[in-house]
């Protein structure tokens, strides 16, 4: 789910950036530092939407660097256990399949795929029901439920399930 959130960060700025453009320099450094990062507490920082306030700078002893506390608003994306997401399948194998929802990777193990769906190997590996009416393959869109998350320094990895009511394929690329 996306969130709009206010975060704070201490920015260190080199004296060469001081002057009339100090604020712009600070903001562009913030964007470079923060956008695209990922933390377990907040998830992926997708974009900075605004600066709330920039505090008084503090000169660091020994160096010329100045630390500014910056409060900024940003859009973050973080998956939660129990959340329902629509994801695009990126890879299918006999263990299950991988899907992507925004910047987040989700793995659905074959235990968490309905029992009537069997793995079919071949050029386009897929999971298919015995009557062939439902097929999960690369680029299929599935609705899944997050049941577990693991947070890395740079990415969030989730375990999902489609073995429940109202979960599963929502559109089929081969049918279109």
């Amino acid at each position: 789910m996306f969130f709009h959130i206010v975060l704070e960060r201490n920015m260190q700025l080199h004296p060469r950036h001081f002057g009339r453009n100090l604020r712009e320099n600070l903001v562009s450094k913030l964007m470079k530092d923060v956008e695209g990062t990922c933390s377990g507490r907040h998830g992926f920082v997708v974009a900075i939407t605004g600066i709330e306030n920039i505090g008084k700078g503090l000169i660091r002893d020994g160096t010329g660097f100045v630390t500014f506390p910056v409060k900024y608003q940003c859009v973050v994306f973080r998956p939660f256990k129990g959340e329902i997401l629509e994801a695009v399948v990126t890879m299918v194998n006999k263990m299950g399949f991988f899907a992507e929802a925004g910047p987040v990777q989700i793995f659905v193990s074959n235990h968490l795929i309905p029992d009537d769906m069997e793995f079919q190997s071949g050029d386009v590996p897929n999971y298919t029901t015995s009557d062939g009416s439902v097929k999960i393959q690369k680029d299929s869109e599935v609705r899944l439920k997050i049941i577990g998350t693991r947070v890395d320094a740079t990415e969030i990895f989730c375990i999902g399930t489609i073995k429940d009511d109202f979960l599963g394929v929502i559109n089929d690329p081969s049918a279109a």
Partner: protein
């Protein structure tokens, strides 16, 4: 089914051997655990109003036994069961608790996020004079995802409709999940958001109204 189960053991961390050997024995012990767990569950449920509690325990035990039989992963044993037992109740409620307390934080629906991010991207074209600022991949992916998950013609009209559910105690995050999923029926809402099941008797009517309102702004 058994074949599928066996295949799967390669990804399970527990050894497959024990489950195969002792499946009969395990079954019995699991049943025992089942009982005690469901009893425990009932005991806990007493605090809720009568109808809600019946609803919740019923659906719960049904799902529970289903999981039990279908998965057939004896090796995993009580550990999984405990987590499964807890999850359906606590899943959604956690979102509010998991969020950091000391910072301002607002859930965004996918449609709102799509609008916001699209606005930023439109601006980027003018801002890209500075070549050192490059748009991170997570932005593109986020935008792509939000656009795809956007089911509505008009993002502004979605929130006012769903906010009416707030007075029935539906949380912000639950509202957002409903908006993102864009369900067709009330059954779908309750199946996907187990945390609402407890208030089912109170919520069915208002949710039904909300869904019919949402259907009007759906894009396809």
């Amino acid at each position: 089914m058994s074949e599928k189960g066996e295949k799967g053991f390669s990804v399970q961390k527990r050894p497959a051997k024990s489950s195969l050997k002792s499946s009969a024995l395990k079954d019995a012990s699991l049943k025992g655990k089942d009982d005690s767990l469901s009893k425990l569950k009932k005991g806990r449920k007493v605090q809720f109003d009568a109808q809600g509690s019946v609803d919740a325990t019923n659906t719960f035990s049904m799902k529970y036994s289903g999981k039990n039989g279908d998965l057939g992963k004896g090796g995993k044993g009580a550990n999984t069961k405990a987590s499964i037992a807890k999850e359906p109740q606590a899943l959604e409620l956690k979102i509010e608790q998991e969020l950091p307390k000391n910072v301002k934080c607002q859930c965004l629906m996918d449609c709102e996020a799509a609008q916001l991010l699209q606005g930023i991207q439109d601006q980027m074209v003018f801002l890209s004079a500075d070549p050192t600022i490059k748009i991170p991949t997570s932005f593109d992916r986020g935008l792509q995802y939000a656009k795809r998950a956007n089911h509505y013609v008009n993002a502004e009209s979605v929130r006012p409709v769903l906010e009416t559910l707030k007075k029935y105690g539906v949380t912000d995050s639950e509202i957002c999940v409903i908006a993102n999923v864009c369900p067709d029926t009330t059954d779908e809402v309750f199946a996907l958001l187990p945390s609402l099941k407890r208030k089912r008797s109170k919520l069915s009517e208002p949710i039904n109204n909300v869904l019919s309102e949402l259907a009007k702004v759906k894009s396809s």
